[in-house]
């Protein structure tokens, strides 16, 4: 970079005092090299400005939702012994397909029994709390074998360092949440080990049952159905 180039940047940024700027204006009329540099600077800036894009619809809702969940996940361990402070968080996670999520979510109260639940499990349980109750009995064992239909698009969330992708499936009259993580979902207090691939466990969180299969990837299935039905429901879902 020569002296001219070194002075050109402050000139283009408007940093020069009026007298120095006038000298540069005059100089540009006489110096082809500097004039070329000015034109290239302008061309490069205008080209780069073409790269601006609008924020995708739904991203703000998604981020706000993730922050709400993070706030919930960090509150629980910070108040040991005091139980979980009752609160109600209304989340407009995404109300429309255009927003890439299925429905407006309402965070419900965490029952005291979930105090101490690991944050990655708690956020999935909290998310599943927003699922509507089964429209009717799922009909397991009665011959009903409706194919699972994915509801909305996947939601990504982070809790305690876990990167979690959550999908929602409709199976008959029941909506089931399937959370996938590259790290094992920790077993919460009160969970029971069960048969299944790898380290499997079942637990209850309020009205939601949880069924976890820890393998190369870890999957946590959650739905507002009795725990005994959940493992059977999971066999009908496209798990990894």
């Amino acid at each position: 970079m020569d002296d001219h180039d070194r002075l050109l940047a402050p000139f283009l940024a408007g940093d020069l005092d009026p007298a120095a700027a006038r000298e540069w204006d005059q100089h540009l009329l006489e110096c082809e090299q500097c004039w070329q540099a000015v034109r290239e600077d302008r061309a490069g800036r205008q080209a780069a400005e073409l790269l601006r894009q609008r924020v995708p619809a739904g991203l703000a809702d998604r981020v706000a939702f993730a922050v709400e969940l993070a706030a919930a996940g960090t509150t629980i361990p910070r108040q040991p012994g005091r139980g979980v402070r009752l609160r109600r968080g209304r989340l407009a996670a995404a109300g429309t397909l255009a927003l890439a999520l299925a429905a407006t979510l309402v965070l419900l109260l965490l029952p005291d029994s979930r105090a101490g639940m690991p944050a990655p499990v708690a956020v999935v349980a909290r998310y599943a709390q927003a699922m509507p109750p089964p429209a009717r009995q799922t009909g397991l064992g009665t011959g009903e074998q409706a194919a699972p239909v994915e509801v909305g698009r996947p939601v990504t969330m982070t809790a305690a360092g876990h990167h979690i992708v959550v999908r929602t499936w409709r199976l008959g009259g029941t909506e089931v949440v399937v959370a996938t993580s590259g790290q094992p979902f920790p077993m919460p207090p009160g969970a029971q080990g069960t048969s299944g691939g790898g380290m499997a466990w079942v637990a209850r969180a309020g009205k939601v049952s949880l069924y976890c299969i820890n393998g190369p990837t870890s999957e946590l299935v959650a739905a507002p159905v009795p725990a005994a039905q959940l493992a059977a429901l999971a066999t009908r879902l496209p798990l990894a």
């Binding site: 940047a9 061309a43 924020v55 981020v63 709400e68 509150t75």
Partner: protein, 178 residues
């Protein structure tokens, strides 16, 4: 914490537009810019208690760039790396007689070509251009985000713009001469 996260969102969501611009260009191969934006906000929320509120835009940009680097390290890939073969395939070889760069017609530029040429700039120049020209940061904000003097940012963005214009000319984005 309820109030905290609402205060945080009130303070930071208005800047999502600029954070998204930074994330789009900071995200490495295989990184989803929207995931990077979310990670940026989660990291910012975790640090919000100690944030003094000097310049929220610059603070968020710095977090976004750090998050992109962390994720790139986790993926064991060099940050900002773009597969060179793809870019070189997309950019025509330099013509015998290069057209005058001043003849570049900005209005007709293909954003994809611009993006490919931008990816060929050295990282410091590219970051300065992304922050100032794409995301709309001032030189002072970009300097705060990058942790370097404002004069350094001005020099880098100037050199980067010139190089970008020259690469575009080489790529055949020109007008007025064969």
């Amino acid at each position: 914490m309820d109030g905290d996260h609402r205060a945080f969102l009130d303070a930071t969501l208005p800047y999502m537009e600029v954070v998204y611009q930074v994330a789009r260009h900071a995200a490495g191969a295989g990184q989803d810019p929207e995931d990077l934006v979310q990670e940026t906000y989660l990291r910012a929320f975790a640090a919000f208690g100690s944030y003094r509120g000097e310049n929220t835009r610059a603070w968020l940009a710095a977090i976004c760039l750090n998050a992109a680097r962390s994720q790139a390290r986790r993926r064991r890939r060099r940050p900002w790396e773009v597969p060179a073969h793809g870019l070189l395939d997309a950019v025509p070889a330099r013509a015998e007689a290069a057209p005058d760069v001043a003849d570049v017609v900005i209005a007709g530029l293909d954003a994809r070509t611009v993006s490919q040429c931008l990816a060929r700039l050295p990282e410091p120049q590219r970051l300065c251009i992304v922050l100032m020209d794409v995301a709309g940061y001032t030189a002072r904000e970009a300097a705060a985000a990058l942790g370097c003097p404002r004069g350094t940012v001005l020099a880098r963005v100037h050199r980067g713009r010139r190089k970008l214009a020259q690469l575009l000319t080489e790529a055949g984005v020109s007008h007025g001469r064969p």
